[in-house]
């Protein structure tokens, strides 16, 4: 396994082509806006080195028998699925941000079982190729970006009907050696902190969209691949040099537009090319795993937000008020409900033909459906407890000012025993999580990441077994039994 330092060093060796705010970034690792997101991924390596966390952070490879980082592991049991959730909660607690590496783990688990089933039915060699890649990924302890979401253009049109064919990643050329692909993937979490990209189709493809039924891997700095960094609210506070106003100085997440400008992919790195009938199941399984993930990571971040709200109540001198206590109980109830869903869909998982375990799809979709709602309510309650000061207080520079600093110190103090600076720090953390850079992950990503709410409702409708429920009702009501 890589150490945290080795991971950072390995990123420095990549030659990524990155644009941020209209400029080419030569050194993404040390860029003040990007760096906190790298620190979050780095934590997935650091905790794997620590005996206190290894039970969750590491696993035994079913391919080699070696100890590997859990993010490179294929789930071999429901225990593995449960441990995944617990690991994600732990990392959410340690970073209070999106730690980005889940998307690759979810991608390898989905691609494994689907390529196995493709080979069984079609006689292809995709699973063998994928396994070779996985072996290298485990050996090198790579961070892999799971890339699914295409820009999609006009949502009312299929990929092949779009005015611009590049709005979905597609094959433009097939040769004896490989394929050439063009297009883009949007909202790519952790793209700049990844060594490789694992591309999957974005939706169920039909025969006329066969060129869009694609799965492959490419090195993150491969020829023809470039990135345009996504803005986050309050992101330029990271350029101000202080450490209070950013709320969470050390950690963060990021998304980027990932562009494939006629990228050559050798056949050994291609895992689906035209087999449109398997595109739907690949999307469904990846989305299922990723919806499970949110029952862990968002809960860990929620733990931090609940803690921050409780600290703010202490500093405001309001901790003993019954309505404050009740709001903290409600936040905990909502957060633990998400966790319960994450654990449930994991414990109810099952084995696929390849041997890799899959979550319970109905419960995974219920998990994510709740995630589209509960973090918003938790955030609302945190803001309620924090008070308006979290968005109206002066800056860190005002606090440090030789003259007005004393005024800030005097008028923004809560309970006498707590320094004003500490009160400002905890309120800025709440601001960061509820409407600052981390709100990208905790709020809007909770809504749209791993599929927007309607996508889960479609899956819930499909999995709900309504006929069985009707039969139960009829039996109790005595219908059809006379």
């Amino acid at each position: 396994m890589k150490t945290a330092a080795q991971y950072e060093e390995s990123l420095r060796r990549l030659n990524l082509k990155v644009y941020l705010q209209g400029e080419r970034v030569e050194n993404p690792v040390d860029h003040p806006i990007i760096r906190p997101s790298m620190n979050s991924v780095k934590t997935t390596y650091a905790l794997a080195e620590d005996p206190l966390y290894q039970d969750l952070m590491t696993a035994t490879s079913h391919l080699t028998g070696k100890k590997i980082n859990r993010f490179c592991h294929l789930h071999q049991s429901t225990d593995d699925l449960v441990k995944k959730i617990k690991m994600q909660r732990l990392l959410g607690q340690k970073t209070a941000a999106c730690f980005q590496r889940c998307v690759g783990m979810d991608a390898i688990n989905a691609v494994d079982s689907v390529t196995f089933e493709m080979d069984q039915k079609l006689g292809t060699k995709y699973h063998e190729r994928f396994t070779q890649f996985l072996l290298k990924m485990q050996e090198e302890d790579w961070t892999v970006d799971g890339a699914m979401t295409d820009p999609k253009g006009d949502r009312g049109l299929s990929p092949s009907q779009q005015t611009d064919p590049d709005l979905y990643v597609h094959v433009t050329e097939r040769t004896d050696d490989g394929i050439v692909v063009r297009g883009a993937k949007a909202h790519q979490t952790g793209a700049l902190n990844s060594h490789w990209i694992l591309v999957m189709p974005t939706s169920t493809m039909r025969q006329e969209d066969a060129d869009y039924a694609l799965s492959f891997v490419a090195p993150a700095d491969g020829k023809g691949i470039f990135y345009i960094y996504g803005r986050q609210s309050s992101d330029t506070r990271k350029l101000e040099g202080g450490d209070i106003d950013v709320g969470n100085k050390q950690f963060g997440g990021h998304e980027a537009l990932m562009v494939f400008d006629d990228v050559f992919i050798p056949w050994e790195n291609v895992f689906m090319c035209g087999e449109y009938e398997f595109s739907g199941v690949l999307v469904e399984r990846f989305a299922g795993y990723h919806r499970q993930s949110y029952g862990g990571c968002k809960v860990g971040v929620g733990d931090v937000l609940i803690g921050a709200a409780a600290v703010a109540a202490d500093y405001n001198g309001a901790a003993k008020a019954s309505h404050i206590k009740d709001k903290l109980v409600e936040m905990t109830h909502l957060n633990e409900t998400l966790y319960a869903c994450g654990i449930a869909c994991s414990a109810e998982g099952h084995k696929t033909a390849s041997g890799t375990y899959l979550i319970n799809m109905l419960l995974a979709n219920v998990t994510k459906q709740n995630v589209t709602r509960f973090p918003y309510e938790i955030a609302r309650l945190a803001e309620d407890i924090a008070g308006g000061l979290m968005v109206t207080m002066p800056s860190e520079k005002d606090l440090r000012h030789p003259e007005i600093g004393k005024v800030v110190e005097k008028y923004f103090r809560g309970v006498a025993s707590v320094p004003t600076e500490d009160r400002m720090r905890i309120l800025r953390l709440i601001e960061n999580l509820t409407l600052g850079t981390a709100a990208v992950g905790y709020r809007t990503e909770s809504m749209h990441g791993a599929g927007s709410p309607q996508a889960q409702r479609i899956m819930i409708a499909r999995q709900s077994n309504p006929e069985r429920k009707k039969e139960l009702a009829k039996a109790i009501a005595g219908i059809g039994t006379n």
Binding site: P51, Y53, Q54, D55, L56, M57, K83, R89, Q93
Partner: protein, 121 residues
Amino acid sequence: MSDQRVSINFCGGCNPWINRQEIAQEVKRLLSQDGCVVVFNSYEADLVIYLSGCSSNCAQKFSSEVIPCVVVAAASIDAAAVEEQKIAAEIVARVRRFCKRMEVSMGSGHGSNRADNFSRR
């Protein structure tokens, strides 16, 4: 007193109600003074101390190893409540009892690592 090899096996730490690190450090310090070799997260040991931060007991429940053990899950040892500040001392007391039995067992010619009345899985 002993040359037993003891492993402290941690859960993953997602919901700790006790300070696992402090307890482990204190146990290691005390047992090392006794001559025990203390390692972490291993089953190459005469006795394992499963140290879980909460009552879910993940340190032990995902294991299929059959080995003499002390099971700490939140503020409890072998399912009986123990105050957090007394956990390290209580673990050490139990390990010492185990070591003593091992010595008696070896002295009587029973060279196996049986430790009657000790938790096992």
